[in-house]
Amino acid sequence: MDKIIKDLTSRFKVTDYIQQRPNMAYVTVQKELAISLITHMRDIEGFTHFVLLTAVDWIEDNLFQLTYILNSPDKKVDLGIRVMIDRENPTMDSAHHLWQQVATYQRELKEMFGIDFPGSPRVDESFILEGWDDIPPYRRDFDTLKYAEETYFPRDGRGSNDPAEYMKKKLYPDEEK
């Protein structure tokens, strides 16, 4: 694993290397080099199994983090590749030519985060939501409780307690903090 990372550092300028556990590591790579890094991993290093692609919303830094997790069935190691992209106008190169399944992930990300993947098949079709005209729901600034209360009809008499407060009162009355 170390050897691969050393190689990657020199070739693709990967940073923020974290060895999560002996067979799992994470690296960060620039947006422009990401797809060529993934292609390299797939074709040269044998990371042929694509595990997942997802996004994390770092609203404080105004960034989206895209995580590609690749897996090598022979070496039995995983590599998580983080790509930071701008939150204002998020676009990312598509990877559907490497694995056909990636198109599905990209469709979901386009819908749930509003990250565009130009060229990905059917990326503009709605995937999960239907007739959605609000901001993409997985973004941090979308308040789901407020939306639900405004849109649906909450039944009267539904009480809700903050679980931490409530349990503290009931279960741990002596505890401080």
Partner: protein, 396 residues
């Protein structure tokens, strides 16, 4: 049996016409094609999803999967809940086999916060996971024949499954949702007499397996319907991220329990069954062998489980469970294949992002759309059931 003879492969190079990209030219106004929507209220479709099929005669020319009928926004909801509150939410992600959800979430939380799980708890977790796999397989193994109108095996299987659910109630208190695996350990000890009753049930299941072998797997009509139908080509396995029984049926020995041993799986003697024919029948056989293997594994677990009182590690008060900053991907082998959860923590009480990687995500969308092309309309649901798609884990 001469398999080649049964494979039904008409020449489809001339009709329907294809454009330069290899996509069929579908002109619905020419009346040569039919648009058929199946689902969501279609009894053959597994769960609440729908298929949009374009037919030419009896053959599927184009297939599209539509999902999202079960979307609850779990990944959003979990961002609003503390780690402890995430557990009841997470188990509802896949209804059929909730224990995998519990396990991957607690494994991820434990890995991030560095909690060591006591040994007995690990064995108990493994017992719960294998029992969950057993109850799913009891439903699914005869379920494939049930799609082809042989509902009898399914009825027997359901009866066996009820006994396993009884054992679950005994062990965890819940019938479908268990909430048994928590960060740091499990919620309860093995009850008195559990082993004896479980072994009795396993003996009963052995008899059941013999009966369905006679009823289903040696039935000629069943073979005629399934052998050589719905072939998953080996080159698709990496292309579409195929895992679990479909991959094992295609000649790829992929089993998370063997490849990345978690819990105490390296102390248990088992060997995942692998076949190469990769049709519906093979996948059914792989599942049946999985069932036999699961029964065997549960026997081994019951044999080796230590009788120790300590089942929970010392954890901080769950109300203020804060997890160090970091990200983690934890995986386990569910009955459908690799089941993983990716958690990003920003150091607060709430997870920053939770993402579930269910096998159906690719099986039911990209792979199914590919496999249905040129399939007969009668085989569509058999193919779908043989991939064991579970819609709630696609859209979550």
């Amino acid at each position: 049996m001469k398999r080649n003879k049964l494979i039904w492969q008409p020449d489809r190079s001339k009709y329907p016409e294809h454009d330069s990209n290899g996509k069929p030219i579908v002109d619905l106004k020419s009346q040569k094609f039919t648009k058929l929507w199946q689902g969501p209220n279609h009894p053959g479709v597994t769960g609440n999803m729908s298929l949009e099929l374009t037919l030419s005669g009896d053959e599927v020319v184009e297939a599209k999967t539509h999902v999202g009928y079960l979307h609850r926004g779990f990944e959003k909801l979990m961002e609003r809940r503390t780690y402890m509150q995430c557990f009841p939410t997470s188990i509802r992600m896949c209804v059929a086999e909730p224990d995998s959800n519990e396990y991957v979430l607690s494994a991820a939380v434990e890995e991030l916060s560095g909690i060591e799980v006591p040994e007995t708890a690990q064995w108990l977790r493994m017992l719960a996971l294998e029992m969950a796999r057993l109850q799913v397989l009891l439903r699914v193994v005869p379920g494939i024949a049930s799609t082809l109108s042989l509902g009898l095996g399914s009825q027997w299987g359901m009866y066996m499954r009820e006994h396993i659910l009884d054992r679950f109630e005994e062990l965890t208190g819940g019938r479908i949702y268990h909430m048994y695996i928590l960060p740091g350990g499990v919620r309860g000890q093995l009850p008195d007499g559990f082993k004896k009753r479980m072994l009795e049930n396993l003996d009963m299941i052995d008899g059941f397996i013999k009966r369905i072998e006679d009823l289903i797997f040696s039935n000629n009509v069943f073979k005629k319907r399934t052998v050589g139908v719905g072939i998953l080509k080996p080159e698709w396995v990496d292309q579409f991220g195929v895992v679990g029984p479909p991959a094992r049926g295609a000649g790829f020995k992929r089993d998370v329990r063997k490849d990345y041993p978690y819990l105490k799986y390296n102390e248990i003697d088992f060997d995942p069954f692998m076949a190469t024919d990769s049709d519906i029948y093979t996948r059914a056989i792989v599942r049946k062998q999985d069932l036999i293997m699961t029964v065997d594994i549960i026997r081994q677990i019951l044999d080796k489980i230590p009788n120790d009182k300590e089942i929970r590690a010392k954890t901080p008060n769950v109300l203020h469970l804060e997890i160090p900053k970091g990200e983690v991907y934890a995986r386990s082998e569910s009955s459908r294949g690799e089941y993983g959860m990716y958690i990003v923590s920003d150091g607060s009480k709430y997870p920053r992002r939770v993402n579930l990687r269910g096998p159906s995500y690719t099986h039911a969308v990209a792979l199914l759309e590919k496999m249905l092309i040129n399939a007969n309309i009668s085989d569509v649901h058999a193919i779908m059931v043989s991939l064991q798609t579970c819609p709630p884990e696609i859209e979550r």
